[in-house]
Amino acid sequence: MLNWEELQESSFLESNARERAKGLVDKGSFVELLNPRDRFHSPHLPVLGEAIALDDGIVVGIGKIGIRPVFVISQEGRFIGGSLGEVSGAKMAYTIKLGLETLERIKEKYPESWEERRPTVVISFETGGVRLHEANAGLLAHAEVMDIIQDARKKIPIISLIGSKLGCFGGMGFVAAATDVIIMSEFGRLGLTGPEVIEQEMGKDEFDASNRAMVYRTTGGRHKYILGDSNYLVQDKINAFREKIQEVVHLPFDQIEQYRRIGSLQNVLQQMELINEALEINPNDAIDVWGFYGNENPETLLDLSFDQFMQKAVRREIR
């Protein structure tokens, strides 16, 4: 495995779950919980004759950023598409719960200065959602994660990172949307329904799942950044994500709340305005949306380098 310094310069897209988990927190600080030696794998896969992973495709643990504990959840797309089953789902949900438990410990130990030590949860998504081999348990685990995210509201920030190969889809698309802050790279994709299902529903003329560039634009980091669904767009490097996390963990909660897209009456009313705008645009392509929000010749944004894009792109203003 690469050392911490090498991980910093590594592509986030190419990195596996454990590399991301270690590289996102301070050097040498990451301690994995339920590591592969504990052999907590799915009990359901062997019954169906499927291979297992000793970590069930998810790496969870605790690290530090400065004096703050950071709870990391990192999904491994190379194992059954990063899908959530009973074990991986419980690992995810309980990690957030441990973050909340830690907040109470810190408040007790540092009654005066707990805020500067407030824990954070970071989720590095690479998943299509529910694991079909144990779909019912996976679905129930999703509900549990959503429930605990609501428990964490205004207590500990939850930050989503999306920049891995499989993106973040299915039920995990809800989970990411429900977190406080979303950081994407331009290779990240965030959505709900996979392209093949949309094609099946709408017909190939309307949505051609084999048109990779179009599919990419629909859910890709650049689009989600212009739309405001992604709060930040960063370079495809582990340290680019880490540096952004470092900024966010220090923010006061009233500011973090402003990053949210859903989770309050006010948020919902704002999102309904977005729907009305979409009905007005009637977009055939995400590019039409970029034009509507003030990007001249929006198709030219496609070919820009990351830095040029960041300079040029006009984002939807949230009123």
Binding site: V31, L33, D38, F40, S42, P43, L48, E50, I62, G85, E86, V87, A90, K91, Y94, T95, T102, H133, E134, A135, N136, A137, G138, L139, L140, A141, H142, A143, E144, M146, D147, I148, Q150, G170, G171, G173, F174, A176, A177, A178, L190, G191, L192, T193, V197, I198, E201, M202, F207, T218, D229, I262, G263, L265, N267, V268, Q271, M272, L274, A278
Partner: protein
């Protein structure tokens, strides 16, 4: 003989569940909803045995003319936000009331999915039904009893938003063609390359992949199976009262997704989850001091 089913009969179910002539559609107390907003979702205020409730149901017989993928009870962009609004206005209305007095929210579930379209993905369908889930979770934690009643289809992500955040989940028995699943067994068979007969055999021992309310019952994802539609009203009323009681006594960990996790252990359908939790907690206690 025609099979008896409640699929597609969300509006009938409302009438069967609430007091006669008590349902006021599109109204959460004095907050009036635009009738053209999200027609696939029916929201309103009614009473059950004299107590005011908010009702949120699917209407599988209409389509949303603005979004072509929204029909047959699918929850589209507008529907998800409409349902979320109904929850927020319900909370707003009872803000000053004590736990135990806050009105219940009854979810009548018959939905095959979330809007699977292009505009939906461009705008972010994940936010719409995600917003509804967060609203329900907040209302549940504020003290509103939330009871989900599955009368027809409760499929995958649509069940996740319209049902699985409830305190208690009830389902009509599969005699009424009730469907609860992520994927039908035929799809699981294709993915696992095992034949259906083998999967059916395996599902007798292990409820985690098979489709149907009885499997969710074993996993703790359904609290109670209701045998006939006529029993829905009394049963919902009973669960509302029980949930009120538990909330007053601060026993919320027996309710909602966390409570359903415990129920899954009790019914021996989900045994791995608790081992994960216990082992994580003990490893955490060993190392946490170095992070404080």
């Amino acid at each position: 003989m025609e099979m008896e089913t409640m699929i597609g009969r969300g509006r009938d179910a409302i009438e069967m569940i609430v007091d006669v002539d008590s349902f006021q559609e599109g109204l959460i107390d004095d907050k009036e909803f635009d009738p053209e907003l999200g027609p696939g979702a029916v929201i309103g205020t009614a009473s059950i045995k004299g107590s005011t409730v908010t009702v949120i149901a699917n209407d599988a017989m209409v389509m949303n003319p603005k979004f072509r993928v929204v029909y047959s009870g699918i929850i589209g962009l507008e529907e998800g936000y409409k349902m979320a609004l109904a929850v927020y206005h319900t909370m707003e209305k009872d803000r000053q009331k004590a736990v135990g007095e806050k009105r219940a929210i009854v979810l009548i579930v018959d939905t095959p999915g979330n809007g699977p379209g292009k505009v939906e993905e461009i705008v972010g369908m994940n936010k719409s039904t995600g917003a509804y889930q967060l609203a329900l979770a907040e209302a549940r934690k504020e003290g509103h009893p939330i009871i989900a009643m599955v009368i027809g289809r409760a499929i995958s992500g649509a069940f996740l938003c319209h049902g699985l955040q409830a305190d208690r989940i009830l389902s009509l028995s599969s005699k009424y063609q009730t469907m609860i699943h992520v994927m039908p067994l035929t799809s699981i068979a294709r993915i696992t390359k095992l034949d259906i007969e083998r999967l059916e055999e395996l599902s007798k021992e292990n409820p985690v992949f098979a489709a149907g309310p009885e499997f969710f019952y074993k996993l703790g994802g359904v609290d109670e199976i209701i045998n006939t539609p006529e029993e829905m009203k009394a049963s919902i009323d009973q669960h509302i009262n029980e949930v009120h009681e538990l909330k007053i006594n601060n026993q919320c960990d027996q309710l909602g997704p966390w409570g359903h996790g415990n129920l899954g252990l009790e019914r021996e359908g989900r045994k791995a989850r608790i081992h994960v939790i216990e082992k994580m907690e003990s490893e955490y206690l060993e190392v946490i001091d170095q992070f404080l």
